[in-house]
Structures are given as structure tokens and as C-alpha cells.
Amino acid sequence: MNLIETREMSIHYGDEVVLENVNFGISSGEIVTLVGPNGSGKSTLVRALLGVVPISNGSVVKQDGLKIGYVPQKLMIDKTMPLSVARFLALPGQKPTSETDAVMARLGIVGLQDRQMSELSGGQFQRILLARALLAQPEILILDEPTQGLDQPGVAAFYRIIEEVRQDLGCAILLVSHDLHVVMSASDRVICLNGHVCCEGSPQVVSAAPEYRALFGVGTGGTLALYRHDHDHEHGHTHEEADNAG
């Protein structure tokens, strides 16, 4: 039984076909990584799962009362809106202080409550977004390219936290990434998307699949570098990652 799934879902914007006949599902406790180049419809799929984009064909089915924690790719807070961390974490509903404190301790961001969101560093900001998502006590955590704008040690640290958190909570995780160098090694499944599902399977299977290589082979030499814990101690940037960040 899937927590949430799409059934032969297609999404068109006018004449442009963004997603075609996508069958996607994620079950309880599963970790799924969604990879695909820019413009492959990854974010549109996430938006469809959240129910904010009209579906042209097929359907999205989710469990009744499914609790979703969502970490957006980017959150632009207009600088005219004064917003403290504590107030942000209490959106849309106030959480018990004990829970908020526990999550902030878990994520290593104790003491930021009174800071304005605009004063946070990129890494702090991402952790606050994650904290807010976790406070919803989600059954599924959806992370849409959550490490954009973080440097490599920051990315490694962020994924380490997500793995730890998920061991605690046991929630399902849907991770969206265009950064093929960083796919969680803990992924049960990797789905390669390019307007449709090109291929899916375990990280090893996908990295060896011809469809995957056809799509990503040129830029990355056909290799899928899995994020592993032994990356934690690398603090330098490789050339390719520096290029991707730019």
C-alpha cells in the first residue's frame, strides 16, 4: 500500500508535455531518490503530489490524512516580512515548546529561535526548513533539491542529518536531486526522470542502466557517485561539483 502514488499521470502546460504517463509510488518507510536533469519535470511531479498543479490525465492518490513534511527547493521570504525562526516554525500551527526544542537540538540549531529568518546562513536556513517539516510529524518527508546553495561539507552534513532523522522517525523520504554526484546511499530506489520514468531500481542498478547512461553519461562520464559516510571527512571541492554549483 503506497502512502502516495500517481497513476498514469500526465501534465501538460498548453502544448508542452511536462510529464507523460508517470506511475510513481512510495510506500511507508521507503527512501526514494528522484534524479533527472533540469527541466525533466522533477519539481512538477512534486507539485502534483502536493496537489498544486492541475493534472491533465490520470490521477494522484494519497492516503487519507497523510502527514507530509515538505522542504522546498528555495524559500524566498520577502524582505518586507519580519519573521523570526520561532514564528516560522509555528506556521501554520503552534507546536509544543518541548517538541520544537527537541527537533532544534536534533538538528544542531539550538538558540536560533529569536533570530530573523533573513539573518540565517544558508546551512542554518535549510536546517530550519527541515525542522519545520519534521515538526509536522510527517509520514513522508519530501525534499526538493534541499541542498541547493550549500557547499560540499554542508551538503554532506545535511544528508547525514536526514539519514539520522529518518532512522529515528522511520518516515518515508522522497528526495529530489539534479546533482547526480549526491544520491543517498541509503536509497531503496532511485527513479530517473526525464518527462517520463526512464528507469528505476536500486542505486547500483540505475547507475548501470543504459537509459540512465544515455541521459547523464556525457557530463558525468557515466558514473553515479553515491553519497557515503566516508565522504564526511572530505572538505575540499572537486572541479565538477564546483562547476555544478555555478
Binding site: 507539485r47 498544486v52 515538505y70 520577502d78 514564528r87 506556521l91 501554520p92
Partner: protein
């Protein structure tokens, strides 16, 4: 001491500020300044239609402002360039309204009052209506407050929490149309948006939370109303514009004194 008509003007302005503060804050946060203008301009067309069909001017203004507000959101939601779309509708509605009014026979319309308001001639009954409408609109905002804030931050974030950002946007449009209808008599179509934006912008400099900004915007709107009414009497200047000038001065002051 203050004359009765000045007291009524001040009461009316303060009543309007109750909802104008929080609503204006949303207009600022969501960058709807131009949208607010379009809705206010549309009210002129509403007045013309109301006169032609002999219905209440306030109802006419409310209905047309709401219709224009909803169509503008629908159009800009569908990928039209929001800026241009709103500009076209805003100015067309204003011009069409002015043309339409010239066709209405048998009624002499004070254009000056429609465009710049006539707060000194409000009756006690009208003051009551302003307060009633304003409090009702404020209650709606308070009721939807958290959902509106979340929807203002991010549509997907709101959706993950079960909040429909589009619906919240429509609620805001409804409140905006109501405030336009209430404020038309007081401040006039051209300056309504100013009364929403300027106090909120002044409040930004002192606020550490959205709620504090909304409350401060109401306080500044109230102060601007009182100063504006008194100054316009002392200096024999038009009252609506004087109120907006007072609000503008508060904004200037906030730039110098404000901390954030």
C-alpha cells in the same frame, strides 16, 4: 475644540485603519501594490454602474472591485505577465468608469470626491458602517491569519500542510474589495492603495514579527488619519491627500528611526 464633522472624519479613518493595517501588510508582503490599485480603480466603474441601475454605490463598488480582483488573479495565475495585465486592467477600469459616469443622466457626480475622497462629509451612520465593515473584514483576516501567512510564504509549503494557497488568495481579494468599497467615500479611488501600503511600509522598520507589523500599521494609519484631518483643517488642504502625506512622513521617519 474639534468640530463634529472632524470627529466623525477621525472616527471613520480610525475604523478603516483597523483593517487597513493587517490587509496593507499582506499587500506589501505579497507585492500586491499594483493589484490594490487596480481593485480600487475598478470601484469607479462600480459607482457608474450603481448609479445607472439605481443601486447602492457601495454595493456597486464592492461587486466590481471583487470581479476585477478575481479576474486579475486568475489571469496572472495563468502565466500572463502580471505586471502588464494588471496595468492594462487597472487603467482601463479607471478610464471606463470615468467615461461611464459621464453617461449617467440626472445625477451630478462629484468626481473629485470619487477620486480623492470626502471624509469630512461622512455622516454618523456612515461611520457606523465603516466600523461594521472594517471589523467584519478584520475578523475574516484574523480567522485565516496563519493560513494566509503560510500561503504568502510558499504555495507548496502551504499545500503540504493542507492549505490551499489559491483559496487564501481569494479570501484576501475579497477583503481587499470590501475595504475598497468602504474606503471609497473616505479616501477616494486613487489613494486607497496608498492608505494600505504606506502605513504598513512604515511599520516594517519597527516590527520583529508579522503580527507586530500588522498592529503597528494600524497604529500608524490611525496617527496619520488624526494628523491628516487636523492638518487639513489648519492648512485648508484637501483631507484625503493630507492624510496620505502624513502617512508618507511617518514612513520617512521610520527610515531614519527604524531599527530593521
Amino acid at each position: 475644540m474639534l468640530d463634529d464633522f472632524m470627529l466623525r472624519a477621525i472616527f471613520a479613518g480610525v475604523g478603516l485603519s483597523l483593517v487597513a493595517g493587517p490587509l496593507g501588510s499582506f499587500v506589501v508582503w505579497r507585492r500586491m501594490a499594483y493589484f490594490g490599485d487596480a481593485t480600487a480603480h475598478a470601484a469607479i466603474l462600480g459607482v457608474a454602474l450603481a448609479l445607472a441601475f439605481s443601486i447602492s454605490v457601495t454595493i456597486g463598488a464592492l461587486v466590481v472591485a471583487l470581479a476585477v480582483g478575481l479576474s486579475v488573479s486568475a489571469l496572472s495565475g495563468r502565466g500572463h505577465s502580471a505586471d502588464t495585465t494588471i496595468g492594462v486592467i487597472s487603467h482601463s477600469a479607471l478610464a471606463l468608469g470615468l467615461v461611464a459616469i459621464s453617461f449617467v443622466k440626472g445625477v451630478r457626480v462629484d468626481l473629485n470626491a470619487l477620486l480623492f475622497g470626502d471624509i469630512l462629509t461622512v455622516t454618523s451612520a456612515e461611520v457606523l458602517w465603516v466600523w461594521a465593515g472594517s471589523i467584519l473584514a478584520l475578523l475574516l483576516l484574523v480567522w485565516r491569519w496563519s493560513a494566509l501567512l503560510t500561503a504568502t510564504l510558499n504555495e507548496e509549503l502551504a499545500a503540504s500542510a493542507g492549505i490551499n494557497a489559491r483559496r487564501e488568495g481569494m479570501i484576501l481579494t475579497l477583503v481587499l474589495a470590501a475595504v475598497v468599497a468602504i474606503a471609497l467615500k473616505l479616501i477616494g479611488a486613487l489613494l486607497i492603495a496608498a492608505l494600505l501600503i504606506v502605513p504598513a511600509a512604515a511599520a516594517r522598520g519597527f516590527a520583529r514579527s508579522p503580527e507586530m507589523m500588522a498592529v503597528l500599521a494600524t497604529v500608524f494609519g490611525t496617527v496619520a488619519t488624526v494628523i491628516g484631518v487636523l492638518a487639513s483643517y489648519a492648512l485648508d488642504t484637501p483631507t484625503g491627500p493630507t492624510i496620505v502625506v502624513a502617512a508618507g512622513c511617518l514612513y520617512g521617519l521610520s527610515l531614519v528611526v527604524g531599527s530593521d
